[in-house]
Amino acid sequence: MPKSYTVQNTDLLDTQTLEVNFGPQHPSTHGVFRMFVELDGEVIVTLKPVMGYLHRNHEQIAENLTYLGIMPYTDRLDYFNAMTNNLGYAMAVEKLAGITVPERAQYIRVIVSEFTRLINHLSLVGFLLNDLGAFFTPILYAFREREKILDVFEEISGSRMMCNYLRFGGVKCDLSPAVLETMKKITRNFPKFLDEFEALLSKNEILCMRCQNVGVLPKELAVNSSITGPVLRASGINYDIRKVDRYSLYDRFRFRVPLGRKGDTYDRYYVRVLEMRESVKILEQALQDIPVGEILNPKTAPFAKAPRNFKPPVGEDYGRIESPKGELGYYVVSDGTPQPWRYHIRAPSFINLTILEDICLGHKVADAIIILGSLDIVLGEVDR
Amino acid sequence: MELLNLAGIAGVYTLMLVILIAAVAMVTLRSLFHSALALAAVLIGIAGIYLTLQADFLAMIQILIYVGAVMTLIIFAVMLTEHLSHQTVRQNNRQSPLAIAGICAFLFCLTGVIVRTPWPLQPQNQTATITAMELGKAFMGQYVFAFELISVFLIAALIGAIVIARKDK
């Protein structure tokens, strides 16, 4: 039964509600996503999200490809953070096939996924401010920093966004000392940039007026609808898979998890800014003591040349990581052949989108757009 | 020089003609929104006439109050009752000859009165144009009582409107 919100109209004349389609081509719905909204004046009465415009049949295609062939496809899931998608998939298959990863490769994986977290949170803040109406200035400052990190990714993996950089048991190629140096320079300048960015935004009265107490996500609703990632932590629940699972080397680095109190749009924005500061701490520690050594587990080297010989044992496995948007899980079932029998992705954006209706009801049209922006969804991951 | 003030007088008469046409249009136009716009044209025309009589303060006030505020209110009402303005109301019905007869009789008496009364006509261009300064002094000096009475009256109307608007809260 679709939930709806009744406006207590005091005057006698019954106002007619206005059905508006914030359709696939709407300028601010991050890709092709439609909201069928029923408006009473300015207030939203019912809201029905419509998805599936970007469905590319990812999981069916994966069933006809070798395990290595799927890797470039995972870049295109959440096209902002290709590296964390690769990491999630690589870890799931390594768990299934029982492959260990050498020390240096683990360090490179942590560095690369923390850089992706910086990119993702930067772009989110930029797009959120764009929906609020700041004419492209915050997003261009964010993209200026993102360019530096993308250049480093291009130096390592060969492509800026579609990196296809990780392999089962390690990474494709090594970090040259020059690249390490530029990485250190970026992490040194990043806090300075963040202070300037916060000076521009965090205390801005208009931003506070527009974002505070808008789209409040209560704790129990967040837990019941299995929300994960910064959206959950903004509502005050301490659940970060890097701390819970302690996968890869995250137990070696000292970092803390920011938690909000009210769980409204401003908290979701500010928790991400604090997370960026924590990621910079992890990066400093990781770049400090990265060991020298091999970057690919020698046992998996022959499979690099002949991916169709890579036949993980029969069985199923579910590997999950803390992607910048939430818990990104890969469920892989292998039947001994070089092609996975079943391959499914637990996309954080898709799950976070289910509560859009509950937190948007009763707000105004302008708020619905910001709430959608603060949930940080990417349609590539939602529709797969 | 006489060509100039001849052109002036011709201008005034064309202005009056425009106002008349707009007034007739306001009454006969089918769509409500169009007649509202015709009303705006009439009000701007009246402000034009004030200007020709060198009462520029009055002309500005006319535009500010009528065109700026009253017209906006009327158009707000028209826009809010959306479907009302769609059906175009039929303007003329069977009683139009009777109505025209009535109007002619009324016009006849009016012109009779206008012709007979001795208007205190001064020469075309008065000497001192009344500036805003003198108007201000007159309001605060000679007519201060009337001025205060009107403001009290306005406030009463304002409060009445608010009370009606939220009568069942």
Binding site: L207, M209, R261 | L37, M60, G68, A69
Partner: protein, 387 residues
């Protein structure tokens, strides 16, 4: 400096004397008026074209990028390229739109924008029409543009433009009142409505004599300027064309030349409002060394820079906050400002009246922001970093 100062007046006088020898004198009067009208008719659109270029350059620089520089040396010919583009674009009229009103709306939108030029004092002696109700003329003219917004939104008959039309009309009305009231202290101290006399009043005082340096003048200037920004629908009050919510507000259904007319009206409003703000509070063409008309343009372009600066930085208000700001903050402040300005003139002792006035204004500002409008104030937020 005198020659440079009245260079335009002299050229006009020479030109008219030249014509004088074979034209009757009343014809000269008409030619004089014709020149003035011609100057405004040319000045308006040219200013509009180069303001669009200026805006894109300034906002570009704020975002560390260059801004248009392909057409012409520094993008000088960019506005001409935009103009040609606007001319050649297909002019689509929606099928069930109301043809006449759809056509009339942009035309009537430009008229008030151009009329407002008639009252601006461009320099010493260079004021197109020295009405003794100049200021009132400006306010009356700028209030008629609400009707054109209504016509545009009603005629295009689609949901988004009606929503946009309603919002912008409500915004224009509620920002007109604080704008008018914030001008009252200036009239009070300049004892005249004519803009020319106001500029002379600011020149007459001794020492730093612009109205902006008096406490009530500063508050009135800030409120007048912000209401001016709201009046021409520019950021952070640009709700009607909030592209993230309702696509383009009342000019969704317009394309080609009609859209260019809306665009022109908005930029001319920007120029006239900043020019008037400069005239009323920053001493118009009054300045020490440079010729008078140059001072006028420097001050106006400084205020225009501030408007572009707002657009490059600030997010936009929501509808109810926008209205709340006008009715709950600007209106009471301007009313108090009028009383304070009155008191300011009665007290003769200089520094007591300055201290007293600024004290009262500061207290009222805090009263209206921190105590009465607590809902709009940003809350202090604490975040706990957990292990």
């Amino acid at each position: 400096m005198e020659i440079l100062d009245s260079i335009f007046l002299n050229t006009k006088k020479i030109f008219l004397d030249l014509l004088g020898c074979w034209l009757p004198d009343w014809m000269i009067l008409l030619v004089n008026i014709g020149i003035i009208i011609g100057v405004i008719a040319v000045l308006g659109p040219v200013i509009m074209m180069y303001l669009t270029l200026l805006e894109r350059k300034i906002i570009g620089r704020m975002q560390n990028r260059i801004g248009p520089n392909r057409v012409g040396i520094f993008g000088i010919l960019q506005p001409i390229a935009d103009g040609i583009k606007m001319f050649t674009k297909e002019d689509i009229i929606p099928q069930n739109a109301d043809k006449i009103v759809h056509f009339l709306a942009p035309v009537l939108m430009v008229i008030p924008a151009l009329l407002a030029f008639a009252v601006l004092p461009f320099g010493r002696g260079m004021i197109p029409v020295n009405l003794n109700v100049g200021l009132l003329f400006f306010i009356a003219v700028s209030s008629t543009s609400t009707i054109c917004v209504f016509m545009a939104s009603w005629a295009s008959r689609n949901k988004f433009s009606i929503l946009g039309g309603m919002r912008s009309a409500a915004q224009m009305i509620s920002y007109e009142i604080p704008m008018v009231l914030s001008v009252v202290p200036v009239i009070l101290s300049a004892e005249s409505l004519s803009t020319y006399a106001i500029v002379e009043a600011q020149a007459r005082w001794s020492g730093l004599h612009w109205f902006v340096f008096t406490p009530w003048g500063l508050l009135a200037f800030i409120i007048f300027f912000l209401c001016g920004v709201a009046e021409c629908n520019r950021s952070p009050f640009d709700l009607p064309e909030a592209e993230s919510e309702i696509v383009a507000g009342f000019h969704t259904e317009y394309s080609g030349m009609k859209f260019a007319l809306f665009y022109m009206a908005e930029y001319m409003n920007t120029f006239t409002v900043s020019a008037l703000a400069a005239t009323l509070f920053l001493g118009g063409w009054e300045g020490p060394v440079l010729p008078s008309w140059l001072w006028f343009f420097i001050k106006t372009h400084a205020l225009i820079f501030v408007m572009f600066w707002f657009r490059g930085t600030l997010p936009r208000f929501r509808v109810d906050q926008l209205m709340g700001l006008a009715w709950k903050l600007f209106l009471p402040l301007t009313l108090i400002n009028i009383f304070v300005a009155g008191g300011y003139h009665l007290i003769s002792d200089r520094n007591f009246r300055v201290a007293g006035a600024s004290a009262v204004l500061l207290v009222s500002f805090l009263l209206f922001t921190v105590f009465l409008n607590r809902k709009y104030m940003p809350e202090k937020r604490r975040y706990d970093l957990v292990d």
